[in-house]
């Protein structure tokens, strides 16, 4: 085992995030089992469904690169879905809802950031607690019953296409590219990398550690707000259960994409392919008739195996 890991070719291959391998394997499975599904229209629909997750992952990878985590995304999505669909603001314009959603996301993210970066509270506990506070609050407001419909303009935008590619997918790719440039070209991106690599070294080199963590969490909240808008547009009705499993899927996709706790490595495109892998995984599992419990087990196993993959690799280095 150790000798195999020391082999230069092996080491090179281990450096590639598992997301790419998983994506390739799933694509091959689908190509063998259901070749007729691999056309642009059908794939477009499947990928479009996964866009909320993809946008949430952009926030997740940011916080995970500074050794934190954000599990409050489910609560944020639920709260925004409720405010849009419950008719609390009758006749409000689309712009108002968008601003409101982004404001909710920013506020929750900022709160998480303060708790994690300034109070130095465990990020898992803070964001989990914030998540259940929000979920309980929405369920209290709605008494457990699904609220009403979402204004039609959301679905209208969601259903547009640019050529064969659905608009939400283009939006997701553009947002990923923007974040990728932001992380590689700005001073803030350098700060994120250095905090992720070694908090103490970053602190003594003059990096504003607390501010960086607060900012990444605020951005993660913003991405959760955007993901909530897309998710709300995609289901077009209010729900008291929407998006609850998204945070854990986001963590899974991010780990799969090569962003690991305790190291400032990993880019934007690894997690991007992690999300695509999940899109394919759901297609494959649905075509093979795997039901909801099977999906839960698969999610758990994927997180575990990806984490073990990195654990072994870090030990061999």
């Amino acid at each position: 085992m150790a000798a195999a890991l020391a082999n230069p070719v092996m080491r090179r291959l281990l450096r590639v995030p598992p997301a790419y391998y998983v994506f390739a394997v799933l694509l091959a499975v689908l190509w063998v089992a259901r070749p007729n599904m691999l056309n642009l229209n059908i794939m477009g629909i499947f990928v479009r469904q996964i866009v909320p997750l993809g946008i949430l992952v952009l926030g997740q990878l940011l916080v995970m690169r500074v050794r934190s985590i954000d599990l409050s995304g489910g609560g944020v999505i639920l709260l925004i879905n409720y405010t849009i669909s419950s008719g609390v603001f009758p006749g409000a314009s689309m712009a108002f809802f968008i601003v409101l959603a982004l404001a909710i996301g920013l506020a929750v993210g900022f709160f998480n950031g303060l708790m994690v970066g300034v109070r130095r509270v465990s990020a898992v506990i803070v964001t989990l607690a914030v998540g259940i506070v929000l979920v309980g609050f929405v369920q209290y407001l709605s008494s457990g019953k699904p609220p009403g419909d979402v204004p039609g303009m959301f679905a209208d935008i969601y259903n547009t296409k640019l050529g064969p590619v659905p608009t939400p997918v283009i939006f997701w790719v553009a947002a990923s590219a923007a974040l990728s440039l932001f992380l590689s070209r700005t001073v803030f991106g350098r700060f994120v990398t250095s905090v992720g690599e070694n908090v103490q070294a970053a602190h003594f080199s003059g990096v504003p550690v607390a501010r960086t963590v607060v900012l990444t969490h605020t951005l993660a909240g913003l991405f959760a707000g955007i993901a909530a808008l897309v998710q709300t547009a995609s289901i077009a009705v209010g729900s008291v259960r929407v998006g609850l499993d998204l945070p854990i899927l986001a963590v899974a996709a991010t780990i799969l994409g090569g962003v690991v706790f305790g190291r400032g490595e990993g880019g934007v495109w690894g997690p991007f392919f992690g999300v695509l892998s999940f899109a394919l995984l759901f297609v494959v599992m649905t075509t093979f008739g795997v039901d909801e419990p099977g999906k839960l087990i698969a999610q758990g196993l994927i997180i575990l195996l990806a984490a073990i993959f990195y654990g072994i690799r870090s030990r061999s280095n």
Binding site: Y140, V213, I255, I308
Partner: protein, 320 residues
């Protein structure tokens, strides 16, 4: 004055953390409830309090072992649901009850093994275990139903020498936990390993010749077994298997441990503090039910308490 406040919040450098203050909170809540509602001091309600609190007490005590190490077990909620599902499979009690503990030990062992041997963060390892167990539970029992062995039901609902059975569950749990924590080498090593983790020197205990991996794995096994015990108790109360009974139980357990003065970064905490913390949560739940607080807002209140308690704890490490 400073002497009093030090007494209440736990002296600086104390290994037990603050537990007197939470005890006062318990008394304050009890006093407030008895003034607020006539039903609280009602004999029936007081008798119900023990079985209501017991699952949380048992789970929180188990959770305390891994928290003292600076770890965390997020899979206990699923473990509880899983246990009720296994008990409701239908089969002889002499086979099912040992099977539950063997399975729990296996889950705890996998958690500990993955964390220590594969270098995986405890939160990630137990979070994925939570999902895997939840999936298996839903395969075994998609909706609640089935019946658990009679002996389990009578062991929870019956009474012995005129004393309700749940009291004995509490005594056994506390005796076992007391022995493990304060009467064994394992307990001492637990504090030593946690002390290293909380001060940022992960292998401090290892360097002093403590078999840290073995003890960490053992702590996760103990945590899972206590969760299984809580699952058996709950199965006896609801008389069936329920895939959702343990939902969010891990958060209640963590909150209870944290309220009891145990530091989530490890090494500081006490058994009596954890029991007091669990009592705070149980009294709160009881009081909110008596005063007709919506169950949905109860979730929010519990989450807010967790936030408040962890925000009051300071620690050196940042992030996870």
């Amino acid at each position: 004055m400073t002497a009093i406040s030090r007494r209440l919040t736990g002296a600086r450098g104390s290994r037990q953390g603050m537990w007197l203050l939470p005890l006062l909170i318990v008394l304050a809540i009890a006093l407030w409830l008895s003034l607020q509602t006539a039903q609280f001091l009602n004999g029936e309600n007081l008798l119900n309090l023990v079985p209501q609190a017991m699952p949380l007490v048992i789970t929180a005590v188990g959770q305390m072992f891994v928290i003292l190490l600076g770890g965390l077990d997020l899979s206990v909620g699923s473990m509880i649901s899983f246990t009720t599902a296994v008990l409701a499979l239908g089969g002889p009690a002499w086979a099912l009850i040992p099977a539950v503990f063997v399975l729990a030990a296996l889950v705890g062992f996998s958690n500990g093994f993955i964390i220590t041997r594969f270098n995986v963060h405890p939160i990630i390892a137990t979070l994925s275990m939570q999902y895997i167990l939840l999936g298996i539970t839903r395969v075994l029992r998609p909706v609640s139903g089935g019946t658990v062995p009679d002996i389990v039901i009578s062991a929870v609902a019956g009474s012995f020498l005129g004393i309700p059975m749940p009291v004995f569950w509490g005594i056994v749990t506390l005796a076992v936990a007391w022995k493990l924590l304060y009467g064994s080498r394992f307990g001492l090593h637990l504090f030593a390993i946690g002390g290293g983790v909380s001060s940022g020197v992960e292998d401090a205990a290892h360097n002093f010749g403590i078999a840290d991996r073995r003890n960490i794995v053992l702590a996760y096994v103990i945590c899972a077994c206590f969760a299984a015990l809580a699952g058996i108790f709950l199965a006896g109360r609801i008389v069936s298997g329920d895939p959702n009974v343990g939902l969010l139980f891990e958060l209640d357990a963590i909150t209870a441990v944290a309220i009891g003065g145990t530091q989530l970064s490890g090494a500081i905490g006490s058994l009596h503090g954890t029991v007091i913390g669990a009592l705070v949560m149980a009294l709160l739940a009881n009081g909110m039910n008596l005063t007709n607080v919506s169950p949905f807002i109860q979730t929010t209140i519990k989450g807010a308490i967790l936030l408040l308690v962890v925000a009051l704890q300071s620690r050196k490490k940042m992030g996870l």
